[in-house]
Amino acid sequence: MSDHAPKGTKWIWNIFWLLLIVTTVEVVLGIIQPEFLAKQFLGTRILNHIFIILTLVKAFYIVEYFMHVKYENKPMRFSLYLPVLILIPYLTFILLTEGNYIESMRVMQP
């Protein structure tokens, strides 16, 4: 199916280095836990937002290039991406909101 995939192996190693560098950045940030990123923003630390964005970057490259989705046709791409991109953020949103609510109720009635 990967009719338009690039030839050779150089692109594979390029993505390998990208994934490695992003992971290294995550680990280094996780170990030093920089003070200036500890501020709260949209319900959690800025550092956590950075972790989540870097994770999505890694996921994007794995799915697009390693799993060849970039070279599938449009209907295929939509049927793979849409269910996941609609359902998972929705589920995350309702469950985290609910978790926050239960936490606040626990504080009110110990």
Partner: protein, 307 residues
Amino acid sequence: MANASSVEMSTEKIWEGGNKPLGASYGKLMMWFFLLSDALTFSGFLTAYGLMRFKYENTWPIPEDVFTHFPFLEGENPLLFVALMTFILIMSSVTMVLAVNAGENKDNKGVSWWMLATIVGGGIFLGSQAWEWYHFITGDKGAIKLENGRIAHFADQEGHVISLSQLVHGMEKGHASNHGDKFTTEEVIAAFNSQSTMQLRYPGKLREYVNHGEAKALVAKAKVVQGANMVENEYGEPLFANFFFFITGFHGFHVFSGVVINFIIFYNILLGTYVRRGHYEMVEKVGLYWHFVDLVWVFVFTFFYLV
């Protein structure tokens, strides 16, 4: 534009079969269906973890306090070992792409070597996970469970958490980790009462301390907890260990099945099955599964160890 396409549609016999709207083979489509449903399963687990973590926001154990070991290294090395595991899994994902790539060039020998490398990578990952589980179950510094069910750690004057070994045998003689030594509740209570510099610290991001005077009454009715099981664990909330076992266990089981399937494909490559068949689509299909396992680990790594 709409006109042009409708003209095209009417000339094409779309109801008589042979149409491939998704441009993928049957086997590949079925693999994708499975992966989509599996992705939603994993997201269900991870969001459930998020729900409970938000519920116990202030007392949930901090991953950097829990996963601090690295083989042959003494002391605290948070994140290093999982970083290594992540690297191993990414590496084996790369060898899998190289196998698929070699398959497209009809290079049977290349495919077999890269498949073997992928299997070895998966094996190393499983071994690392077994090591991680072993240390999680055996426990690190030990804790006590108070009468109300809360877990508390012992801390020295400066507020650093110390191990039961250091509490009982003294800071010089004791080890920073218990290394599997078991301590009875009586000797821990006696050791705590005789050292007035010791205090208690609750797990969680608030870093709450209880000073020696107040802690004495709490410790008197407490019991020692070392390691982790499904009922209680020394790290904090019982659910923390339950989620750890379930999510990393479920992912580990995926890796295990992946290694088994990879091995079957590897065996078929050696038999020359795909040379006879003329294409290596089976390698692409297990490749999809293997990359998916790597993808899930990327998320588990973030939400279990980093955030």
